[in-house]
Symmetry: C2
Subunit: 299 residues, 2 copies
C-alpha cells in the first residue's frame, strides 16, 4: 500500500463517546479548518458511519482520513484490537485498521496487562505520542490526562510502558447530574480553599464513599457552604485520583498534565497541593501532532 | 397534650425518597395490615401531603399516624430539626413535630457532629431504637444498616453515640444505570468468588475510582467474566464500605447487620470475608417496634 498520499492534506478525527472533533491538516501539519459536534459514537446509528464520514468530508474536503478514540471500540464503527504496552508511535501506525483502502483508517488503542490489573485506552495514545514528537513533553515523564476517564501514563524513551485509568470525571458527572448531591453540585468548580480541602481529604484516601455523603451532611449542618460543595467534591475526587496516580511516580519524575485547559488547570492546582509542580500541555495540539506523525509512518 | 390515644391502634409510615411503607399496628404492637407504594417524597407534589395521608387512612383506617424518614427532610413535608447524638429513643419522642394536633406527627432524624466530620440520618434511627427495645440487638453493638446510604451506628447503653454514612447503594445504582459499566452490571449480585475478590480489593482501599474502571478493562481483556462483573463491583464497593465501618469497631464489638434481607445477606458475606461474624436482623420488624416505642412515650 502506498503511503505517499498520507503526507498530503489529511483529516484527523478525535471521535469520542459523546463528541467528535475533526481537523483538516495541511502537509506541514498545521490545522487549516476544524469543527466539533455532538455526533460521538452514541450519536451515530448502526450502519450510519459511512454517511458520518461523508459529512466530515463535505465540510473539510475530500481527503484521506485518520480516526482515533471510541470509534475503534466495541461500541464504535469497527472494533480495532488494542496494541499492548510497552508501545510506541510506530506500533500505532503499524496496526491501523483501514476502512476504505488507503483513504480512511482507525488508530488502535493501547492495553496494559499487569500482574494484578488490566487497563485500556482509546484516543489518549495519539496525544501521548504526538506530544513527544512535537517536543511538548520529554520522552521520559508521567502524564496525567484528565477527562471522563483520567489516564496516568508512564513514558520511557517516548514509549508508553504502563498506564492507569481513574473514573474521576465520570463519577463527578454522575454525582452532579443524578445523585442526592445533584442540587448542590451545579456551581462552577474552582481552585481555592474548598477545592484544596477536598484534595487533602481525597489524598488521605480514607473513605471516599463516606466523604461523598459527608458533603450532604456538611451542607445540612452548616459545616460546608452550599456554594463550595462542587469545588470541595471535585477536590475530593481529584485528591483520590492523584493519590493513585502519584503512587507510581518517584520524586524525580517530571509530571505533565495534558488535556482540556479547564481540567488541566484543576489537576495542576491539586498537584501543587501535593507539593508537586506540573507542566500543563494543551491536548488538542498534541492530538494534531500525533495524527500527523502516524500518517507520516504509513507505508 | 394527652397521649392516651397513641397506645391504641396507630399507623406507622416509613416514608422514604422513592417509596413509602405504611403499617396498621394494634395496641399490642402487632402489624395487622400494611402496604407499600412508590409515593416516596419525590412522588408527592408540593401541597399534596394532606391528601397523601388521607389516602393512607382510607386504606388502613382513621388512626393516629407516626411518620419517619425523608418525609421530615428539607425535601419532604415539614423539615423536622435533627436530634444530636448521643441520643436515645426518648429524645425522638420528645422532639416529634405534630402536623395535626394529637393525630399525626413526624419523627426527627439524628445528626452527628464530630471534630472532622458531620453526618445525618432520617428513618434508620427508628429501627435502631426499635431493635434494642424489641431485644433484637443488644444495647451495646455496632449496627451496619445497608441501603441507598449505608449507616454504621455505634450503640452504647441503647443510645446512638455516633454514626457514619456511606454512599454504597447509591453509587452502585448510578454505575448500574448510568455509567460506562451499565451494560455489564444488570446481572444479579451474588456472594461467591467474584464478590469475595471485589470485597478483598475494596478492603485494601487503595484506589477505588481506578478499580471501578478496572471492571471495564478486565472484561474487555478477558480477565473478568462479564457475568461476574456485577458481583465483583458490588463486592468492591461493599469492601470499601466495610473498611470504613470496621475502622470504628474494636475486635470485641458485636456487629449487627440490619435492613432488607437481600442486602444484609451480602454485607454478612462481606463481613465473613473479613473474619467478622455478623447477626442479620430484619429492619421492618425493628421499624414497627421503634414506632410502637415512640408512640408509647408520647405524653
Amino acid at each position: 500500500m502506498s503511503g505517499t498520499m498520507w503526507t498530503d492534506t489529511i483529516i484527523a478525527v478525535d471521535w469520542g463517546t459523546t463528541n467528535r472533533r475533526a481537523y483538516r491538516l495541511n502537509p506541514d501539519g498545521r490545522c487549516e479548518a476544524e469543527f466539533e459536534d455532538a455526533k460521538g459514537i452514541t450519536g451515530v446509528e448502526a450502519g450510519a458511519f459511512p454517511a458520518a464520514i461523508a459529512e466530515i468530508r463535505d465540510r473539510l474536503g475530500d481527503h484521506p482520513l485518520l480516526m482515533a478514540g471510541m470509534i475503534g471500540s466495541n461500541r464504535g464503527w469497527v472494533e480495532v484490537p488494542y496494541v499492548h504496552c510497552p508501545a510506541g508511535a510506530d506500533d500505532l501506525a503499524g496496526h491501523l485498521i483501514f476502512i476504505e483502502e488507503e483513504r480512511a483508517a482507525i488508530v488502535p488503542g493501547l492495553s496494559f496487562l499487569g500482574e494484578n490489573r488490566a487497563d485500556v485506552m482509546r484516543g489518549e495514545e495519539v496525544q501521548l505520542f504526538g506530544a513527544v514528537a512535537a517536543g511538548l513533553v520529554p520522552p521520559d515523564c508521567l502524564v496525567c490526562h484528565p477527562g471522563t476517564h483520567n489516564k496516568w501514563a508512564m513514558l520511557k524513551g517516548g514509549r508508553v510502558t504502563r498506564f492507569r485509568t481513574i473514573m474521576t470525571g465520570e463519577l463527578f458527572s454522575l454525582l452532579q447530574n443524578r445523585s442526592i448531591l445533584a442540587d448542590w453540585l451545579d456551581t462552577p468548580v474552582e481552585p481555592g480553599e474548598a477545592f484544596d480541602k477536598g484534595v487533602a481529604q481525597g489524598l488521605r484516601g480514607d473513605a471516599l464513599t463516606a466523604e461523598l455523603f459527608g458533603v450532604r451532611a456538611g451542607v445540612l449542618l452548616g459545616r460546608l457552604e452550599q456554594a463550595h460543595a462542587a469545588s470541595f467534591t471535585s477536590g475530593l475526587l481529584i485528591g483520590a485520583d492523584l493519590r493513585t496516580g502519584l503512587s507510581d511516580a518517584t520524586s524525580g519524575t517530571e509530571i505533565i498534565v495534558m488535556g482540556r485547559p479547564e481540567l488541566t488547570h484543576l489537576y495542576a492546582a491539586g498537584l501543587e497541593r501535593c507539593g508537586r509542580s506540573a507542566r500543563e500541555v494543551d491536548g488538542e495540539r498534541a492530538f494534531i501532532a500525533g495524527i500527523r506523525q502516524i500518517a507520516g509512518n504509513i507505508r
